[in-house]
């Protein structure tokens, strides 16, 4: 039966995260962007909310709950509303955890999952994106060649979140024309973590270039072993996560610029009384809701184990455009004040433009 109402449990989660975002994240996000660092207390408090360990099977130390994409989308939207860098940092472990839980071999689950049920934040990461304008996750330049009992990986990756501290790395590579995933432990010879990247936005999130130079790993480190992984499904899950985050960022920008427009007086009236501004805001509201719902549909299909490449790709593409439109308009509505770093909208616009690039860079 068609319904747009989250379950009670989901709503409780949303309320909890929204509170955290309002009370904690929003207090420090500007300094974090300026300094390029997320305060430790934000990460540890979020860790204690148990998003990561909840979907790890009980036998490996987690709560063994169903890792719902829809619930993840609801949470991701709230975290991103708080701050995108922090949201991506907080959810970074999922980049390794979710693929292992859903597609890993028993040995991989046994070896790697318990680490993420620890008392303090522990993270893995994924290396997907490549430093080329025509980067294509289905046609990667990074290669994985099977030789004897090993795989040898060669290539260059960028936008690897928390590459400086993550273990393991889930490296996506081209194996005989197909994208597969390979678990590379921190410190493996040939895994070279580069300099921390400097980006237009997500400045508080530490991302890295990573080079694979004849990086040799045991054959058993291929995600899913002989079975391999369903990359389309992983990418779909990532797109749902990112689209949800885009909705969160857009919502933040929309709410802020709406309130500004109601109080900013020009020509004797609030600028919100002028159709040009009012119509911009109305369209922003419409597009935010629309994006959220088409993304919910994609997430809902993933939760039903249905094919969702089309829905998740459409949702991501739509979200990429929407979040840019909304944040751009937010800056425009604030006029000159939107251009200075005293207000958050310029930060949200810098963050928003990245979504078109952030493919595979977050997961729920």
């Amino acid at each position: 039966m068609i319904s747009f109402s989250p379950s009670e449990e989901q709503q409780m989660m949303v309320n909890l995260v929204r509170q955290f975002a309002t009370d904690e994240m929003r207090k420090v996000y500007r300094q974090s962007d300026e300094k390029g660092q997320v305060p430790g207390h934000i990460i540890e408090t979020a860790w204690e909310m148990g998003f990561i360990s909840s979907c790890i099977p009980a036998e490996h130390g987690g709560l063994g709950e169903q890792g719902s994409a829809l619930t993840g989308a609801l949470i991701a939207e709230e975290l991103a509303w708080g701050d995108l860098s922090m949201a991506m940092h907080i959810l970074c472990p999922y980049l390794a955890v979710y693929p292992i839980v859903e597609m890993g071999t028993e040995a991989q689950k046994r070896d790697l999952l318990p680490h993420f049920c620890s008392a303090r934040f522990a993270t893995g990461t994924a290396a997907v994106i490549e430093p080329r304008y025509d980067h294509d996750p289905f046609s990667l330049a990074t290669t994985a060649k099977r030789t004897d009992g090993s795989y040898v990986i060669n290539g260059r990756k960028c936008f690897v979140p928390l590459g400086g501290q993550a273990d393991p790395f889930l490296v996506y590579a081209n194996e005989n024309g197909q994208t597969q995933a390979f678990l590379v432990e921190k410190g493996t010879p040939g895994l070279e973590i580069g300099e921390r990247e400097k980006n237009m936005g997500i400045k508080a999130l530490a991302t890295y270039e990573v080079a694979l130079n004849n990086c040799r790993i045991p054959a058993g480190n291929r995600l899913g072993g002989d079975r391999g992984c369903d990359f389309g499904r992983l990418l779909g899950r990532s797109r749902v996560a990112l689209a949800a985050m885009a909705v969160g960022v857009a919502r933040a920008a929309y709410e802020y610029s709406r309130e500004y427009a109601k109080t900013r007086i020009a020509f004797g009236e609030p600028i919100a009384s002028r159709q040009a501004i009012a119509f911009m805001l109305a369209e922003m509201a419409i597009e935010i809701d629309a994006t959220r719902f088409i993304n919910w549909e994609a997430a809902w299909k993933l939760d039903r184990n249905e094919e969702a490449i089309k829905e998740s790709s459409l949702a991501k593409m739509y979200a990429d455009d929407m979040v840019l439109m909304v944040t751009d308009r937010a800056v425009q509505i604030l006029g000159g004040h939107g251009y200075v770093r005293e207000h958050p909208v310029e930060l949200w616009l810098r963050n928003a433009r990245g979504f078109a690039t952030f493919d595979g860079m977050a997961m729920v």
Binding site: I2, A272, F293, S313, M317
Partner: protein, 401 residues
């Protein structure tokens, strides 16, 4: 729980509607588009009998559930003009359901359950009052046991059919012009009432199978009891009156339905393009990054996403109503988006198909002509955007014009 599934019965209803549209309605589309004022009698008979058999409630006369919206999308995918000219109480029925007493509902709508087929209409718009409904100048003056109506209404859907079938026209008139919106009331005028005249039937860009008319009321006397709801003029606040809100309440339930029509037409155009391309071996490669997609793939993905967006907004608006929650803003969001989407999608599809799109050999150009009105009637895109803007800002119509 968030859910987008349909029950088996709902799925069946959607499938049946699509089958009917594809097999029975589409073959008639071009003929009735080219022969604007001819009557598709075979279609009327078929639909009337189906209504009787199904014992369905009045279409458009109450909030349509999410599944009914999807059924409406299929019928619209078929042919909106041919859908709109179906016998039934129409928007007039919706007005009666929204504003009438229980007795009035029973009395006036009973005829739509009895042979022969009848039509109903609602007359609101005037030459000087379109988006500004409160500017209507048609008057209703009490005279003993009667109201006397005087005025002219334009763009009345199905007025001719209503008048020729023994149906009803619900006419909005003012009992006190000085009271503004508070003076607006709805009056049931039966076909055949002296003083009710059909003045004109429009020749239109699209939706040609549906009759769109000008009617004149000249000292038209109707029984006093034919006023819907309360005859009192409550001059509380000219900007906030129950009569006006009742008229507008009709739209909160009809707006999503009309938006669904738009989505049906847009999808008809998009389906045509996708099928044509598939015949040429062109398939959309959904997972690929933007840079790798051809221009046509990007256009199609863009249109599909926008179509989904419109549909979701409609379903959300209708779902709220089904939960007995207010949906005024959400209905306007859905209508604004859907009107814009059908315009953009149908126009882009004609462009993409080049000479095949422009030719009357196929229905694609008709979908564009049929689609355009969707951003205009039942609340223009601009008015609906204005309503959304007022709601999100918490502004009155004085604060945001």
């Amino acid at each position: 729980m968030i859910d987008f599934s349909l029950t088996p019965e709902q799925e069946e209803a959607v499938k049946a509607a699509h089958k009917e549209a594809a097999e029975f309605v589409r073959p008639l589309s071009r003929y009735y588009d080219e022969h604007e004022h001819e009557d598709p009698a075979e279609l009327h008979k078929r639909r009337w009998e189906r209504r009787r058999r199904a014992g369905m409630g009045m279409p458009g006369a109450g909030p349509a559930g999410p599944a009914a919206i999807l059924v409406s999308e299929e019928s619209s995918w078929g042919d909106v003009g041919l859908m709109m000219c179906s016998p039934g109480p129409g928007l007039g029925g919706a007005a009666i359901m929204a504003s009438g007493t229980r007795e009035q509902v029973a009395k006036f709508l009973k005829r739509y359950e009895e042979d022969p087929p009848k039509w109903g209409a609602m007359a609101m718009t005037e030459a000087g009052a379109g988006s500004d409904t409160s500017a209507i100048a048609t008057t209703a003056v009490r005279d003993g046991d009667h109201w006397v109506l005087n005025g002219e209404k334009i763009f009345v859907t199905s007025a001719k059919r209503a008048m020729e079938s023994g149906g009803l026209i619900v006419v909005w008139a003012t009992v006190d012009k000085s009271a503004g919106r508070a003076g607006m009331k709805a009056f049931v005028v039966e076909a055949g009432t002296p003083g009710l005249k059909l003045e004109k039937v429009e020749d239109k860009m699209g939706l040609r199978a549906s009759d769109t008319c000008t009617i004149v009321l000249e000292d038209c006397r109707i029984p006093y009891e034919n006023i819907l709801g309360d005859p009192e003029v409550r001059k509380i606040d000219p900007n906030d009156s129950a009569g006006f809100r009742r008229a507008m309440a009709t739209f909160d339930s009809s707006r999503p339905g009309v938006a669904a029509q738009a989505v049906g037409i847009a999808r008809a155009a998009l389906d045509f393009v996708k099928e044509s391309l598939e015949q040429e071996g062109i398939k959309v490669r959904y997972g690929l990054p933007r840079n790798k997609l051809t221009s046509i793939e990007r256009d199609i993905m863009d249109m599909e996403a926008n179509l989904k967006a419109a549909r979701m907004l409609i379903l959300r608006a209708v779902w709220l109503a089904s939960q007995k929650q207010s949906n005024n803003m959400e209905a306007s969001m859905a209508k604004a988006k859907a009107g814009q989407v059908v315009t953009k999608v149908t126009q882009k599809c004609v462009e993409l198909m080049g000479p095949l799109g422009y030719s009357r050999k196929s229905l694609l150009e008709k979908f564009m002509r049929d689609g355009k009105i969707n951003d205009i009637f039942e609340g223009t895109g601009q008015i609906n955007t204005l309503i959304v803007a007022r709601r999100i800002l918490g502004f009155s119509s004085r604060q945001l014009k």
